[in-house]
Symmetry: C2
Subunit: 460 residues, 2 copies
């Protein structure tokens, strides 16, 4: 007999008769002549209650059906007399698929997030992490829906690459050489003998390649892993994280901001509509202002604020900050959060940043001092999206490469795109895990991805 | 004025009045007093024809509007007198956004796939590669739809990992050390000073981690990049490719085969329904048997053939093969293709392979000699899916690790999943690029991914 998922059972309108449910026991309580079990199969947050009378098939092993054990239950779906749910199962037979000895680490009690990170292979069996990973899945789907419905082409940009998009260092290197005894020339590693015959690293962004695709297909987006070998232990950074990077031909900075705002609102609304139950867990136990924050995102038009005006506002509140703010300085998270949380109390898009603090590929504005960059700042998180109109003029792009210390020869193909049929175009990068933090209220980025990668952490 | 995508224009039922189209010129022909242009914007395979009279705004630069140039055209959408399309644009104004000097490599003529690989940043501007990458996008979406609609949770498994799922070697190593001068202890690299404080590599499969998630959430799948440092230059292998890996709790080998067959049929049908025009290009110019192959996949029930019977059939035709076939030998592509193309003329699922040629995680059958493995073989490609029921019995799994030279201590977490609430479960891996080859008829794997990674190829 095929199993039915608990999510489906709990949504039943009429009793379907005999069903089979498989899952893991969360708790068991025994009474005289029968047992109650709460069974969860991961299809939803909710458990289904199973009532097993002592005379049913398989009851002899009921004492082994402890927290964490896997069971298969057949029985009748019946209206539940309890208040919590409409349905429960009156078991006709129960079989123990896999026991869970009492060394099982997830006994019924509160566990700290720190402890649960050490058993990341088991934590999706808890309510909180199960809910987080179901939301993560639904959020991924929402992202694909958003772009697909707007006629964007999803593209895969390379993970192993020879280029460093940000020119920022902090790269992981990739090699097939024997690192203990690499071939050497003049005391340095001879990469001509490596797999790619030159040094290779993990991508920090798919943007440059995405631009090549946008300049052929129009609207494209990536959704893939990116990497930073940044040796910092914060609650907002990981060595491996997922990014969404749309790139749009025939789109200027205003169009870029419009798309970014629509994107944030769409995925927020999608999760509120499709994950109400999982979301309610976070609203109850993790961040009690969560629903208000999400509703605020959907209801408000994002403030659009030139960087120059942002620094003026921030200068007026400078005693609140550790870092000073002047034109030409990069905004810190404290500044961003002040603007979104305290000053405007809603999402803000800051644009037209000083050219001196931004990478070579951003379009230089007519004032010569600023570039057509924009960052979307949201309450509690700070920057969630960073984007720009791209420099589409060959000569200026070339100058900017020189100015920022990029070797144009390494980017002949990128320059080609401005040589042949260049068009104005824009794009942005959205940190997927930051979005997850925004939507769940989870405050440590390590807790929104199944198996986080941070300095010294490579388990699983 | 907002631009309208050509795909939308060509699908118009009634003339929408004045429109704006942006795109790249494929050809221009001049006549007395006017010009015809074919413009493509990447939204679809088809161009739109633009008729520009000599007196319109911007016509003075018409000589610069050569193949590859980017233009913005406003004008009236009018019924086309030509046979090829319903609509054309009578331009009111045209502006040259970006010219394409006559060094533009994609002049109107046939280019070889080999040449186009050297300009992978420009090849999506050709009909063939534009079509391929639109199909790639739609195929990705179909994959997410298939699993999402069936209640699977999409998960991201780690890219950088300390474990080697296949135990097969051929790994890329990842490091943040200075490879010229790494810290050493006793003449060997001291990885305790590396980013993760131990050796790290790029994943070859997300399966083991996906199993951990399936044993909490029920049905899950991955869709992400995987890596092999295999130094072989074939038309079927790359160093970086994308895999889809579903993993299902409470699912045996039969359920696994059922899901795999449904999956292949679903995505095939989806592409036939949603990409008829792009597909027709491949059916005309790349593989004239393509539509027949795809219809055959949808129409037939896949043959299910025990490995033992497969070897019997193959032994009967052994003079056709370079490699011999006996029980215990791995099937080669020539054998797989013989079965699917010549013998059965339809997809075949071979199952119950000898334990001696399969990895430790596959469930040992009661006969002791075989494991519950299955491979889906399709005409023209050979193996497109490989999967198995997983070994869910702690003691046998442990033995199999020892037997295959895996150190159980490195996999304490994997063993944990069989210690606590173990259940029967199954999964498979589908090579995304192999699927692309099946669906387009493209015969070189380098031509179905935007920027291929193969030995010595790291450009872009």
């Amino acid at each position: 007999m095929n199993r039915t998922k608990i999510k489906q059972l709990l949504a039943a309108q009429t009793a379907p008769g005999t069903v089979r449910v498989c899952g893991w026991v969360r708790t068991r309580r025994d009474a005289k002549g029968f047992s109650f079990m709460e069974v969860n199969d991961g299809s939803c947050l909710e458990n289904i209650q199973v009532i097993a009378d002592a005379e049913i098939e398989g009851y002899s092993r009921v004492k082994q059906i402890t927290t964490g054990a896997a069971v298969s239950v057949t029985g009748e779906l019946k209206p539940s007399p309890g208040r919590k749910q409409d349905w429960e199962i009156q078991a006709a037979g129960i079989s123990l698929l896999g026991p869970a000895p009492d060394t099982y680490p997830l006994q019924k009690k509160r566990h700290s997030d720190e402890f649960l990170r050490t058993i990341a292979h088991l934590r999706p069996r808890t309510n909180k992490y199960g809910a987080a990973f179901r939301i993560r899945s639904e959020l991924s789907f929402a992202i694909h829906r958003f772009f697909h419905d707007r006629g964007f082409t999803y593209i895969h940009t390379p993970i192993i690459t020879g280029s460093d998009c940000e020119g920022a260092g902090e790269l992981f290197q990739v090699t097939a050489l024997d690192m203990d005894h690499p071939p050497k020339t003049n005391g340095r590693v001879d990469y001509t003998q490596d797999f790619f015959e030159k040094p290779a690293n993990l991508t920090v962004s798919g943007q440059l390649e995405a631009e090549m695709m946008a300049l052929a297909l129009g609207d494209v987006y990536t959704f893939g892993p990116t990497f930073r070998a940044e040796n910092s232990n914060t609650s907002r950074h990981m060595a491996e994280f997922w990014m969404v990077e749309p790139e749009m031909s025939f789109c200027d900075l205003v169009g870029d901001m419009d798309n970014a705002e629509a994107f944030i609102k769409y995925v927020t609304q999608h999760i509120m509509t499709h994950c109400p139950s999982d979301l309610s867990l976070f609203a109850r136990f993790v961040d009690q202002t969560l629903m208000e924050t999400l509703e605020n995102i959907n209801a408000s038009e994002f403030i659009r604020l030139p960087y120059k005006d942002a620094t003026r506002i921030l200068s007026g509140a400078k005693d609140r900050f550790t870092f000073p703010v002047d034109f030409g300085s990069d905004l810190q998270t404290e500044h961003e959060r002040f603007l979104a949380e305290t000053h405007f109390k809603q999402p803000v898009i800051i644009y037209d940043y000083p050219r001196s603090i931004k990478p070579f590929y951003m379009r230089v504005n007519d004032d010569g001092d600023t570039v057509a960059a924009m960052d979307v700042i949201v309450p509690r998180i700070g920057e969630i999206i960073g984007g720009s109109q791209r420099e589409d003029r060959l000569d200026i792009l070339y100058q900017r490469m020189i100015e920022t210390g990029i070797n144009p020869d390494d980017y002949w193909w990128y320059l080609d795109s401005r040589r042949y049929g260049s068009v104005y175009h824009s794009g942005y990068g959205a940190g997927f895990e930051r979005l997850m933090m925004l939507l769940t209220g989870i405050s440590n980025i390590r807790d929104v991805i199944p198996f986080p990668r941070t300095p010294s952490t490579l388990e699983f």
